[in-house]
Amino acid sequence: MRKLLCLCLLAGTSLLARADLRVFATVPEWGALAREIGGEHVTVYTATHALQDPHRIEARPSLLAQARRADLLVAAGAELESGWLPLVLRDSGNAVIQPGRPGYFEAAAQVKLLNVPTVLDRAHGDVHAAGNPHLHLDPRNVLKVGEALSVRMGELDPARAQAYQAAFRTFAGRWQAAIGRWEKQGAALRGVPVFVHHESFVYLSNWLGLREIGTLEPKPGVEPSSGHLTSLLARQQGQQARMVLRAAYNSDAASQWVAGKSGMPAVMLPYTVGGSPAASDLAGLFDDTLQRLLQALR
């Protein structure tokens, strides 16, 4: 038995000694960013996809197997993954990706979070103590996270640190130009009142100047009820919402109901990379998001 275990261990360590930096990204947006920076030098595994509610993931066996082999874990943080990631980290038997080690990277730690609750009480729903974790929908945050991530990847893989830096600078150049373009396109959206399904677009609204005047979920994480939706529509006497936004992973029932009652368009936003056919990478995500918003405005 002991011999067998030793053999297994040897086989395991030899498999680990591979050239690529293995990145385990909890969400598609940071997986895509790691790919932009790492290019062909990294193997990126993305634990969730755009049609999954990132709050409701289970510590599946496949996630454990992937976390076991990762050199770098890129998490969104701010308790977005609190339901499954701590369990995966603990049971992975992988020391290098534990919180506090260089192999653990949290996007939320790189930017200033919005909607930090002053009162922590579950009577307010599934609140995140650190603030709203859906921070990637402000492209300026993507840049901040990318800068820190490229540095971290260089620390873990010093031989390619230069390559990561160069790739990030190229990406940042394109991204800055794109932000200018998006902001110009999105100027028409400034001050537009909208409804949202879940508080997943706070950073997008903050960046583009959209005014979120109501949330279909009565409390974060609590499914919309017809009573709440009716009162939501009744309350918006003075300021009419122009559209109702939901993420690709949200059920369309509630926003369609609101759209049917009020005549405002229900807009599905890709939310993350892979959420729509056009959102195949980070730039595509914002291109498609802007296009869908502007189309709804017309």
Binding site: P61, R90, G93, K144
Partner: protein, 470 residues
């Protein structure tokens, strides 16, 4: 800059006051004074300009990251920030079922020992309203190398340590070590606490094999190794005290129980994921007492000495459209168990009723060989059809199998029976933290009795967010 502007003001003031002065000599003196002043502040301005230039150069040479304030400025957390994660599980129920004096499972040795107060298996025989164990969970990282967790279960005047363990964080190479008291990694349901169960009670076979808690808990050490493969492949070994049923407590060095298990799992497409496992548990029992019935219908106590081995095969399949379980998902779960016990059985008459083991009530006992081979299984499916509602069905069947009591076969009743139970449930969850469940069970676990059991149960958790274990 502020400093030099004061000089300019002073100079201007001096110039403005010029016409008020009379006399050439005075004028000369003033002119000299002004030129002195001028020279002095020109010097000062030049010095300031030089300082400004060096400061600008220094700022430019510094990296941008330091020049900018850090993006996140969190207030210094008080020491209470290190308090462990705390959660409290509140659970209670209303149960409607037949009044059975000593509830048990026909053909299986009652795990609860021979305590009259509790009946065959304590806990499952409580009728009407009751509050289950109130579980207090405390957990935190101890340091970069260890994590600790304690689960205390409180019930009317007693607090029980359900689990109290430390787990390694920094060994690496896929190795995990756990020490203390923990739910054994055998089977699938064994590690799950009652609040995570999909039904109000544990499957019959768990109750038959491990007693009232419906799980096997060990004091000892657990080693796990996760293979570095894309397919989930996990191996575990446990060594422990083995004090709990089917073993018995002991006053000895070394280990009283050992277990081995292997798990394999993965995903099939986006929508499906699965896990299968095989486990083996071996324990030793010394004078493990249990209730038996003698051939004349009187009560007898049988004390078992020997080895008990258990095999468990488990399989779980989960489906969710697009892998998003929030709105709809289905879970199928099944486990098969087999237990073999070999040793000796000593039959006695504790009540001094003159039973077959001790017909003269003289305190004698009859010791014989004892060998059993028993099995059982359950299969269940739970379907969540809206974000709030789930419904589930469970079927289970046990087989009392072969029970060889040797010479004691002449003294004790050797039941042969196949207990069955069918359970249906529906539950509603307001959120991840609260759930209420209605359950109906048609229980034929006791020969000659069909018990229709209704359970209305609530499960609430408050505090730290629990983990979504697969």
């Amino acid at each position: 800059m502020l400093h030099s502007s004061r000089w300019v003001l002073a100079a201007a003031g001096a110039l403005v006051s010029l016409p008020a002065l009379a006399g050439d000599a005075d004028l000369q003196a003033v002119r000299a004074e002004i030129s002195q002043l001028k020279a002095a502040y020109e010097q000062r301005i030049a010095a300031l300009e030089a300082r400004l230039q060096t400061a600008e150069q220094q700022a430019a040479s510094r990296p941008a990251a330091i020049a900018e304030p850090p993006p996140v400025s969190r207030a210094a957390a008080p020491a209470s920030g290190f308090n462990p994660e705390v959660s409290l599980i509140l659970q209670g129920q209303y149960k409607n079922m037949k009044d059975v004096a000593e509830r048990g499972i026909t053909g299986f040795v009652p795990a609860g020992g021979h305590d009259h107060d509790h009946g065959g298996i304590a806990g499952i025989s409580k009728r009407g309203f009751s509050v289950d164990h109130t579980e207090l969970v405390l957990a935190a990282n101890i340091d970069p190398y260890w994590r600790g967790q304690a689960i205390l279960a409180a019930l009317d005047g007693e607090v029980e340590i359900e689990e109290a363990w430390v787990q390694s964080l920094a060994i690496g190479h896929g190795i995990g070590v756990k020490g203390g008291r923990w739910r054994s990694g055998i089977g699938y349901l064994n590690e799950q606490h009652p609040h995570a169960w999909d039904f109000a009670d544990a499957p019959l076979m768990y109750q038959a094999l491990f007693g009232e808690h419906g799980s096997y808990t060990q004091d000892g050490l657990q080693f796990k190794w996760l293979a570095p493969t894309p397919l989930f492949l996990e191996f575990g070994a446990e060594l422990g005290r083995g004090a709990n049923f089917p073993g018995s407590d002991r006053n000895k060095n070394g280990a009283g129980a050992g277990a081995l298990f292997a798990h394999v799992g993965g995903d099939v497409g986006l929508a499906n994921s699965w896990r299968a496992g095989l486990s083996y548990l071996k324990t030793r029992a010394r004078e493990r007492e249990a209730h038996f019935e003698d051939v004349g219908g009187l009560e007898a106590v049988g004390a078992f000495d020997g080895r008990s081995t258990t095999w468990v095969a488990d399989f779980v399949w989960k489906w969710a459209p697009d892998g998003n379980p929030k709105y709809r998902n289905f879970k199928f779960q099944t486990e098969y168990f087999q237990r073999r016990e070999k040793g000796s059985l000593s039959c006695s008459d504790d009540e001094l009723a003159g039973n077959a083991c001790d017909p003269l009530a003289a305190g004698d006992s009859v010791t014989s060989a004892y060998k059993t081979r028993q099995s059982g299984w359950y299969a269940q499916g739970v379907y969540q059809f809206t974000p709030n509602w789930r419904a589930g069905l469970r079927y289970e069947q046990l087989d009392s199998g072969s029970r060889n009591f040797g010479a004691n076969a002449a003294n004790l009743v050797v039941d042969s029976y196949r207990p069955k139970k069918t359970t249906a449930m529906a539950d509603y969850s307001w959120s991840e933290f609260s759930r209420v469940r209605l359950q109906y069970a048609r229980d034929q676990s006791m020969q000659g009795l069909t018990d229709h059991q209704w359970t209305l149960q609530y499960i609430m958790s408050l505090g730290a967010h629990g983990a979504h274990k697969f």
